[in-house]
Assembly symmetry: C2
Homo-oligomer: 513 residues x 2
């Protein structure tokens, strides 16, 4: 069958199940009740603190084939996933599913767990590093499910992702399991991606290196959902939170693109009081923020809120009064952690509040503008952030598709050429974010506007911006670099790319070693 | 059938259903999944603000026989219940169930709605004023369900109380339905009793007189659960929050009882660092707090937390450093409101976090000591706070049974004689809180200790406290006032008294006008 972005999909996939094809960004309606975990009780006088992870495994007990979930707020500094899976391996468990909201190079030991059969499947929103390559080579027994941040919250709340045991890396907790991310020696800030896990898992375990007196405050995850508390020496390295650059780019081409993007935001009429903005942590995204900041200062504009993964740069804008609030589902650096702990206008929210399309309203719906990147983009504005042009997994949607769907103005910033390859192609290798939710592509060679947004095209032309048809941009790229060869693998399906509404927007096939 | 406190109950009650008898405070285990409301969605660009309540009724639509829920944080100053039910009456609706966490004299218009058939049943935790009398006279078509605060949270979370539409009186909200109780002209403080309603109702409506810019903060009830926002002129009168006395009693007998209770707490070894305490808002309860405060000051003790309905008196103790935290499910005066808004150590929690017996751990389980009142108490330490000795409803458990079950030390303070009647009897008219969860009765004539707590008896004797057998106290009362006549009504059952675990601990029968 062919889905709404033209991708051929099987009806059924072994190890995954029936495939529901993507049918348009807002075409699929929820038709299920909320997940309803078993009700528990805890008598007065009973205790939650256990000595070690092995005790957790035997107490629950954790059995072959269960789904264990984890959050990624420590990013490349996470210590809990490896610790828990080492325990599982030691106890001889097999066939586990790991539902980890994002995977980083630090999680390389997963590869051995795939090989030994301890872990049979991965359910995640983003993968970087050696685990991504291992999946592309077909290592896990079952296909990986690649979700979006909002889609993961939806899958948990709506029952498509059933978690047997959620392990929460808990920077601070008390004896009764209240958790926050802002206290303790390994504070990581917002714990937003763990909120759905804590709410709907059958069992919830706080793994901590910092116990405070009862009752802990603030409380991000409540005692009412936490079954056991395990104290360990160290749950992670907060320095690892800062993955990659969180500094404004110094690359002149990227600065040019960022400047153009900021002008596009201005031309769209959004530099007004109440502006809300999401930027990523990448250097180009931050450069856009810096140009917008300048415009806001010059015109005395006070924005409403900054959203998403939060950096020190956005914290500065909050503290300067350029935004009234920060809505934080994830901290990208230690400044974001500090601000969340201290500033009542810096709000911690869960993944469902951030981006779940199936509730009574998530925050991306309130977003004016989002700046996003792309590995590839096609002439229908479909974006790939899952695979490289070689077909090997190197990322994932994270909040990409969510913010694109929600924001009034979705801008993709990208160098028209990456290395010697055009990023603008006829068909992206893997559709992640559907073109109907992308409004504008900004490159160093000009700006392309989605034909669905002729209102923007007129505004950009009036503002004198270098607007070009997207086909023309593609021709420019091909004139410089030639037409890239596309080598579509015919190997087995190693991953499904799930759109935020639970439909399948694309698949990823095995690539030979 | 006869339940574990000796009460005869029918197996089945018309308008209520099958009756599960109370079987002991911790004998009944949960055997159900959590309630799973239908999943909804909200597309970008859709709005939630409606013009008036009638629009809400037609938009949902609200139909005959539905259950509408409300919180009682405005207590006797509430304006929303009457407003919504007047709309229902105007639109000709019939046979509604009103699930209002507590009922006050201001809700007297309910009586007309009972008469006209607009409202057929009431589900609540506490009733004072004319509505209580009307129920005792058998006015509503179906029996009233009297729950506890924790039991109501349980009933909602576990699916025994299904709410079609929750109306949240919202002191502050934004256009997307985020709600708090600390901003705006009618701030009422904690919204804890509305948390379960907002989480599990099919539809949630914020009724507000104060809209703030998006995103509102702090957020007590999130946009993800709120479907519509209705702006009205005034949702209530915050002055009505202060119901009855929240001042320390000046009555010498009550002061004597309070002093004895404080000495009992001390003798039980609880005046140590980390003490946690719940007192009500009544003058006698506050007097106990004042004696405890003095002991804490004298010995330099720093307590852990104060819990429950919060008064300015407890706020003073927090600000003085005698408690590290306040855990607030309900504000009893405007000082509590002020403190919750300003003090990060003053925590707002939901009814489930406070006292739901069926989750992974509620806060009453962490309580050292609770001071509670009684209308009657019997020689098995069973307490009645539902009916007067005439059998007419005049209260309800509220958090009484919850705190009694959770706390390490549950003290009932009561004058041995109320008016000319002994409060100590062979059998209370209506069992509300089972004797097995009550440790100590303190009266002006001495202290009785539950035989289950011989450890306490020894400590009290060692401390030289005036300990008496409970039968001896009863004899003293009867020597003074005679043996009270008990006139058990044989009328129809007008209310069931549900214990916090969902079993029925007693029933209330109709009393002639």
């Amino acid at each position: 069958m062919i889905n709404a972005v033209g991708r051929e999909l099987p009806d059924y996939l072994d190890g995954f199940g029936k495939i529901k094809p993507f049918n348009g960004a807002f075409a699929t309606l929820p038709d299920m009740p909320r997940q309803s975990p078993k009700v528990k009780r805890m008598c007065p006088g009973n205790h939650k603190v256990l000595n070690d992870l092995e005790e957790v495994f035997t107490k629950i007990p954790i059995r072959d084939g269960m789904t264990l979930s984890f959050h990624h707020h420590f990013r490349n500094g996470d210590g809990v996933v490896n610790m828990v899976l080492a325990t599982a391996a030691k106890l001889g468990l097999k066939n586990l599913t790991v539902a980890l909201s994002s995977v980083f190079p630090v999680h390389a030991p997963l590869i051995d767990h795939f090989k030994s059969g301890v872990v049979a499947a991965l359910d995640t929103n983003y993968i970087s590093g050696p685990v991504a390559a291992a999946i592309s080579q077909g290592l896990p027994a079952r296909p990986t499910i690649l979700r979006t941040h909002g889609g993961r919250a939806r899958a948990i709340e709506c029952g498509q992702l059933h978690i047997d045991v959620a392990f929460i890396a808990a920077p601070a907790t008390d004896c009764y399991g209240n958790i926050n991310g802002v206290s303790g020696p390994t504070a990581c800030g917002s714990l937003g991606y763990a909120f759905p896990d804590a709410e709907y898992a059958d069992y919830v375990i706080a793994v901590t290196d910092h116990l405070e007196e009862y009752p802990l405050s603030p409380i991000s995850i409540p005692q009412t959902r936490v079954d056991f508390v395990v104290k360990t020496d160290r749950i992670g390295d907060p320095k690892g939170i800062v993955s990659g650059t969180t500094q404004i780019t110094k690359d002149p081409v990227q600065l040019k693109i960022a400047s153009l993007a900021a002008q596009a935001i201005k031309a769209s009429g959004m530099i007004t009081d109440g502006l809300s903005l999401q930027t990523g942590a990448g250097g180009a995204s931050l450069a856009v923020a810096s140009f917008v900041r300048k415009m806001m200062r010059e015109t005395g504009i006070v924005g409403s809120f900054a959203l998403g993964g939060i950096t020190g740069y956005l914290v500065q804008m909050l503290e300067e009064g350029l935004f009234k609030k920060i809505v934080d589902v994830q901290g990208f650096d230690l400044e974001a952690v500090r601000s969340l702990a201290a500033n009542p206008n810096h709000l911690e929210v869960g993944a469902g509040f951030y981006a779940n399309p199936f509730n009574s309203g998530c925050t991306v719906n309130q977003l004016d503008c989002v700046i996003l990147g792309a590995t590839e983009i096609d002439t229908n504005f479909n974006v790939n952030v899952v695979t490289g042009s070689d077909g090997i997994i190197m990322g994932g949607s994270g909040g990409h598709s969510d913010a694109a769907a929600g924001a009034k103005l979705t801008i993709i910033v990208a160098n028209l050429l990456r290395g010697r390859l055009p990023i603008l192609v006829d068909q992206v290798m893997t559709v992640t974010t559907p073109g109907e939710t992308v409004d504008v592509l900004v490159t160093e060679w000009g700006i392309a506007v989605n034909p669905l947004r002729n209102d923007l095209l007129e505004r950009f032309k009036t503002a004198g911006l270098p607007v070009k048809d997207i086909s023309e941009l593609k021709r420019i790229a091909e004139d410089i670099a030639g037409i890239p060869q596309t080598n579509r693998s015919q190997g087995k399906i190693v991953a499904v790319v799930e759109y935020r509404d639970g439909t399948i927007i694309d698949i990823v096939r095995q690539v030979p070693k």
